[in-house]
């Protein structure tokens, strides 16, 4: 191949495949080879699939026979380790599921297969999606390709690093409190979380069921959108998916107006991130957008709400890991001891921490004070956003308060790690679509992310603004 496939976007690669400039087998082989070479350094992948090349060849044959192929036909894609691919190991980067093989395809995986995508491997993550650095993986941290002394972010660090380091053209992640957007920001790629209810969670190992969404990583906004369009749709297997026809349409303002929650972002943000943020706002203004300050009076409580609701749901969702039907089994003296030992051995520190926190806030005597209250405040935060969207079409803020930190820097203080989520969590709490786009780098070369949040089910607006905000 004279075209270097490593520098291509997914969209360009798809065009080249359609034109016959190279085969899917050649394309996938290039990515697999590079992934194998780099994984010792980056640790983006937990496994590269040995059937990837034969899948690529099948796509080539179908193309040669003139068959109608999907929008992702022949494109190498990486999938986060908490999304089930039938017959493949899915471990959520945990010892608990190290030997577990998925017994069915997640709905998003069925859709990827129908679209002709070639799934080349499963990516590293924080264990059970709990973390902001991928340091909580039971199988080693993922390094940031821009500076391997720093973290890739989390929990979808492997997927972000894979796209950033050209080890896959596209990747899937999951986002409960920022786990797609934050690593996208740290690794200098595009990462997007759809509105809650846009993408089926069937086959995604549940972390916090009222907050989780699967979403795309890409090198460009167009690539992320290409993948997004394959993932969406109502699903009878996930009753929380929403038919878009039931969501009232919005009329955009003219000019398109972006709101900035100034009070929320005025403190604690790395100065170079604020500078990049203001530069991008100027760029948007010069493109004809109106940029105005807005107030989201209760948004600063999002993190506290999140760290009550999420652990509560986690403690419930992870109760299924008991060594009975699947996963690790540690033998105790009786059945209760089986559970206690299996879970003691199978779960890492952060997972235990969150299960315990969730058990506390849901326990008798505390349920109303913590969980009940957090649910009520969630409704208030949702209303703050609705009120703001009466006046603006999108909301902009930095993705993270700081760039990628050094490995080990935040592992001793869980609360310090949690505070990194402060700007990403509100979109999950309010169920809104949000995206992080690259916005330059710091003076030491670390990527910076610019975040846009759009109204419920207004992904069109989200992608449109994102394309204009993107800074390579």
């Amino acid at each position: 191949m004279t075209i270097d496939p490593i520098t291509l976007s997914a969209r360009a690669a798809a065009q080249h495949l359609a034109a016959g400039d190279f085969s899917s087998r050649e394309l996938v082989e290039t990515y697999l080879t590079r992934a194998q070479e780099r994984n010792g350094t980056i640790n983006a992948y937990l496994e590269l699939f040995d059937d990837a090349l034969s899948t690529a060849e099948e796509v080539d044959e179908r193309r040669a026979h003139g068959e109608n192929l999907g929008s992702l036909a022949g494109i190498p894609i990486a999938v986060k380790d908490n999304i089930l691919i039938k017959g493949k190991t899915a471990s959520s980067a945990s010892k608990m599921l190290e030997q577990y093989h998925a017994t069915y395809d997640a709905t998003v995986i069925e859709k990827l297969k129908q679209a002709g995508a070639v799934i080349i491997g499963r990516t590293n993550m924080d264990e059970f999606a709990m973390g902001g650095s991928t340091e909580n993986s039971a199988f080693g941290a993922t390094k940031n390709p821009h500076d391997t002394r720093t973290v890739a972010g989390g929990s979808s660090g492997g997927s972000a690093a894979a796209v950033s380091d050209n080890l896959a053209l596209l990747a899937l992640g999951s986002d409960t409190g920022g786990s797609i957007r934050q690593p996208a920001a740290f690794c200098g790629v595009v990462g997007m979380k759809p509105s809650y209810g846009r993408v089926s969670r069937y086959g995604l190992m549940a972390m916090a069921s009222s907050l989780d969404q699967i979403g795309p990583f890409g090198k460009t906004v167009e690539d992320a959108e290409l993948l997004y369009k394959v993932l969406i749709g109502t699903d009878t297997q996930d009753a929380t998916t929403v038919d878009p026809a039931r969501v009232p349409a919005r009329t955009p303002h003219s000019p398109l107006t972006i709101g900035v929650p100034r009070t929320f972002i005025e403190k604690g943000v790395h100065p170079e991130i604020m500078q990049a943020f203001e530069r991008t706002l100027e760029q948007l203004k010069s493109q004809g957008y109106s940029v105005v300050p807005i107030e989201l009076p209760h948004v600063s409580h999002s993190l506290a709400v999140y760290y009550v609701l999420m652990p509560a749901e986690v403690s419930s969702n992870l109760a299924r890991f008991d060594g009975v039907r699947y996963g690790l089994h540690v033998d105790g003296v009786d059945l209760l001891d089986d559970y206690i030992q299996t879970r003691g051995r199978g779960f890492g520190k952060e997972v235990k921490r969150r299960i315990m926190l969730g058990t506390y806030v849901l326990s008798a005597g505390y349920y109303d004070a913590y969980y009940g209250r957090a649910c009520a405040i969630r409704r208030v935060i949702r209303k703050d956003f609705e009120d703001a969207f009466a006046h603006v079409d999108a909301i902009a803020l930095p993705t993270t308060p700081s760039p990628a930190f050094i490995l080990g820097e935040k592992t001793n203080d869980p609360l310090q790690m949690y505070l990194e989520d402060i700007f990403t969590v509100p979109a999950n709490i309010a169920e809104l679509p949000a995206i992080s786009v690259p916005s330059g780098t710091t003076s030491t070369g670390l990527p910076i992310g610019f975040q846009i949040v759009a109204p419920y089910f207004a992904e069109d607006t989200l992608f449109s603004v994102a394309k204009d905000a993107y800074v390579s």
Binding site: A239, A304, R373, A374, I377
Partner: protein, 101 residues
């Protein structure tokens, strides 16, 4: 809402969550949970709680009938179970002499 979490609390939580913790883990969790609960206790100070619900879901209950042939997934599911006895997942005796089941 603001209450210091005690060692006895942590031991009780570990029982409820069915997780074995070493004494080191118990100690460090006491500190961690204490500081996190302290952080989230700010929620108790909010008074004006008028918010909105959002629900565009349709009734998605399926008909109460078999959607698949019986036993079609048995083999693939049993293959993942740690202990199997014929076509059953096998576990230890359910009722035991311990008082807190």
């Amino acid at each position: 809402m603001q209450k210091t979490i005690t060692h006895a609390d942590i031991v009780r939580l570990a029982e409820l969550a069915r997780i074995e913790l070493s004494s080191e883990e118990l100690n460090s969790l006491e500190g961690d949970l204490g500081s996190i609960l302290n952080y989230v206790s700010e929620l108790s100070t909010l008074t004006d709680l008028e918010g909105i619900d959002r629900n565009y879901n349709a009734n998605t209950l399926r008909a109460d009938e078999h959607s698949e042939e019986s036993a079609v997934h048995t083999d693939i599911l049993l293959a993942e179970a740690p202990h199997v006895d014929r076509e059953y997942v096998a576990v230890k005796q359910i009722i035991s002499k311990r008082h807190d089941n």
